[in-house]
Symmetry: C2
Subunit: 254 residues, 2 copies
């Protein structure tokens, strides 16, 4: 049987996973999904995901591709896997959902073919903490100055060397230059969404950008200081790393 190259769009609640990437000892999104796919397809499946999201990080639109020899029709894959993932938990929706599956040309690869990604970071700026949202947003009870945050955000958009926004001790990369296409901050009631797209992201880059913007919003940094922070290429000059539970991989561009 001819080998098909299948691309999946995947949503998941990252709360109870040790991140995306397969690990021998820990429960991960990729590992859980590979197990369900292998069961449904009757062959061992290895997934290539676009983004290795960290523990606690969520996704609306992760993408992952794999090679399939079995005869199951592509359009039946999503439902079969979703059912197999949900059925162990009575009356519950699964933590992982395949949104769709489609067949791609043989040379397509979810990660290497990607031209960029969009993340959304969710903040609750309500004056009271809500225990029911603790795994789904960053709760900041002191009021945030959105105008200041937007000013700072505008300095991040464009092509820059973002070494200052890379976690200390990251594996060295060929270059720390990346292009941020847009960085938009919007408020609905007490909820603040920070939407950021770019051609690539360094390790913890979105969470460090958010931590820096939050410090601007709290008045601890001047908006214009972000330009110097970027120029410094020094992680210690940037803000704290915002917690993982506010971060959502929204979409992947091809």
């Amino acid at each position: 049987m001819e080998e098909r190259n299948i691309l999946l769009k995947i949503a998941y609640d990252g709360t109870n996973f040790c991140g995306w990437q397969r690990q021998p000892e820990n429960r991960t999104v990729c590992g859980t999904l590979e197990e369900a796919l292998s069961y449904v397809c009757g062959q061992e499946i290895r997934l290539d995901g676009t983004s290795r999201t960290d523990a606690g990080v969520h996704a609306y639109g992760q993408q992952a591709s794999f090679k399939l020899r079995s005869g199951i029709p592509t359009e039946r894959l999503a439902k079969a896997v979703n059912d197999s993932l949900a059925k162990s938990r009575l009356e519950r929706v699964g933590e992982i959902e395949i949104v769709w599956a489609k067949e791609m040309p043989g040379d397509f690869h979810a990660r290497f073919s990607s031209r960029g990604k969009r993340y959304v970071y969710k903040i609750s700026n309500a004056p009271q903490v809500d225990i029911f949202r603790r795994n789904y947003c960053y709760q900041i009870t002191r009021p945030l100055d959105l105008d200041a945050m937007k000013k700072a955000a505008s300095l991040i958009v464009g092509e820059h060397d973002f070494a200052c926004f890379q976690a200390a001790g990251s594996t060295p990369r060929e270059t720390t230059v990346r292009t941020i296409y847009d960085l938009e901050i919007s408020r609905t009631g007490d909820d603040i969404d920070i939407s950021i797209s770019g051609n690539g992201f360094l390790y913890n880059m979105v969470r460090i950008i958010v931590g820096t913007l939050v410090e601007v919003g709290l008045g601890r940094r001047a908006p214009q200081s972000v330009a110097e922070t970027i120029e410094s290429k020094d992680r210690s000059k940037a803000g704290h790393t915002a917690p993982p539970q506010g971060l959502y991989l929204k979409e992947v561009f091809y």
Copy 2:
């Protein structure tokens, strides 16, 4: 030192607990809270809760009382316990929160002194399931007829023998007559809240009432049939038991 009688108001996310009531082998809200209280107060604490909520059921306003000999000021209890419950999870809000603590007369008892309770049951009636809400509401993707549900709800209000809404196999009670003070159904966007208060509730009563109302809302039962269901005193004539994750203990009346 004189013994004080302390009453707590408690909110919790029931997702990862085997219900309220202390169990030797399982993680429960009461057991977790007793451990934190015992640590903070330096004496073994035994809590009497108002409602023995089931696994997966949440609370905004559970109440529980206990006898305290240690000298810790009542007004410092809530923060001390909340801090001790949250500190094990970096950057996370705890799953349990003491909203307030106050001193009561010696003969007050959280359960026996209670005159009634209010529960809220949350339904999402959005056309798509949201994996991020799977532990916090009942997701029904087919449209619900709210007018029909309200008609049915009006027949439940008042004093009735509610044997039909009691889980089969429940421990026999002296009487299955209860008074429902009000039962209100409201919609905000795709979210439906069913708010119900009464002087007492049989085992699974709110969830069976909600399951029955949902079947009315889906057109599977006529609204007026609920009167006959109550008259029948027969559990098998009522609807399904709605899942626990939509149920919230809202408040306790004294």
